[in-house]
Amino acid sequence: MATESIDKISAVTALPDITLDIKDLHVAYGASEVLHGVDLQVGRGEIVTLMGRNGMGKTTLMKALIGNIAARSGNIILDGKDITHLPSWQRVKAGLAYVPQGRMIFSAMTVTENIESGLFVRGGRTIPQKLYDLFPVLKELGERRGGNLSGGQQQQLAIARALATGPHVLLLDEPTEGIQPSLILELARTLRKIRDETDLSIIVSEQVLSFALDVADRIVVIEGGNIIHQCSRAEADGEQLMRFLSV
């Protein structure tokens, strides 16, 4: 039954202008397969929210996309280019950017250096003003070490660092984790603003339903390493989604 609904929905929501095309992606840690053939297409300027309980494969999908874990089979195609077997830095060069779970900023480097680390891939030398327009606090904190920032500030830094690479597709893994509610609202607004200004496609994995409904154009539910449900924000049914998320 689940498969039927996917076919119907993807026929409705498939966009003509596809940026990222994931085809039959299988990913395994050693012998244990975690993703069993994920198919997902993301349109230009679309925000897709990936939902699902812990251990269902959200983070694994993110890591496989950026190249921290190798894919066992299947393809990842970005702007028509197959990036399945490229090392991480070449995927970034091709247009992917990544904000990992736990943010993973370079804690012993200053805020400015953290943002600059994203510039090298395109040979840029100065941090674009628009990043500071989005996150003014990062300018004030420029000389502070990344590790001494608060969780919310680190999240902004991690996003700024990812945007500095000049991406077409931004991957965010559980960005609301450990962030106070008022900032979660702000984050959703910021993400939509970035999308509106730059036509960036965003995949964001999330467990907070309100944030997902706030930010998403389309919601995708992943369970047991398969996509089991998709819907646009307009047709999203909160109660149904809650059932997917509850244990």
């Binding site: 090392p87 830095w89 970034v92 990544y98 370079f106 480097m109 600059e116």
Partner: protein
Amino acid sequence: MLWGYSFSDLTSIFVMQSFAGLILFSVFLLMALGLAIVFGQMGVINMAHGEFMILGAYTTYVCSQVFSRWIPTLFGAYFFIAVILAFIVAGAVGMLLEWGLIRFLYRRPLDTLLATWGVSLMLQQLFRSVFGAREVGVQLPDWMMGSFNLNETTQIPVNGVIVVGLTFFITLGIYALLLKSRWGCQVRAVMQNRSMAGAVGINTEWIDRLTFGLGCGVAGVAGAAFTMIGSTSPTAGQQYIVDTFLVVAFGGTQSLGGTIASAFSISQARSILEFFLSGSMAQVIVLLTVIGILMLRPQGLFSMKVRR
């Protein structure tokens, strides 16, 4: 007075032994800098690091032979050419080693330990085959042989001053390279989180190769400096590798300042104690002290005040 030395004797001994310690400090520091950068970034414990130093020493030896035979007029300046060549040769061999072996062994510390130990044995045999098992010494140009007489009992050797000066500039150079250059920014990013550095678009493979080459090149420069205080033999590097590990462990791999302070205190303690006690007793006392301090501060002398 103490042990039958007069006070002015003691002062002279102290000054001269401190200076001898400074030359030792220079070699330790150059060795440890290379080792610390490579270990800090790649988690690779390079057991062949001492052989890279000896590679630099043999390069200096060859250079001195070539200059004295074919271009004796420029012999006075050969040492500076030798330093540059030692850096290039050791650095190039280091990059070759990274490309041919080390890169397949990342995140396998035991395997790298064994593999680089094997490489060190191979290099030693190579030195033996090419240069013979006997020690070779370099000839110093006349102007580097003398010493500055501070007073009638205190003498400071000229070559020592050159070695210390060289070390100062190289350390400063590495410091600037790591903290101020674009390359340094990428190195530090890779050091802290390899997979995340890749995920922000840093070419980690290339940075690794360059860093390994730099570490080995600096060891080569240490070798050039080493020719001033000891004679070069195929196995001379092994005597220094343990002390170098000690310096790195004591200083902590997170800061250059820690490496400098640790190289300084260990070499000074060694050099001054060696005058009053036997060499092995000095070694034992230094080792025990370092172990004692490391039990209290496992992270080394200095560590950064930052949340991780």
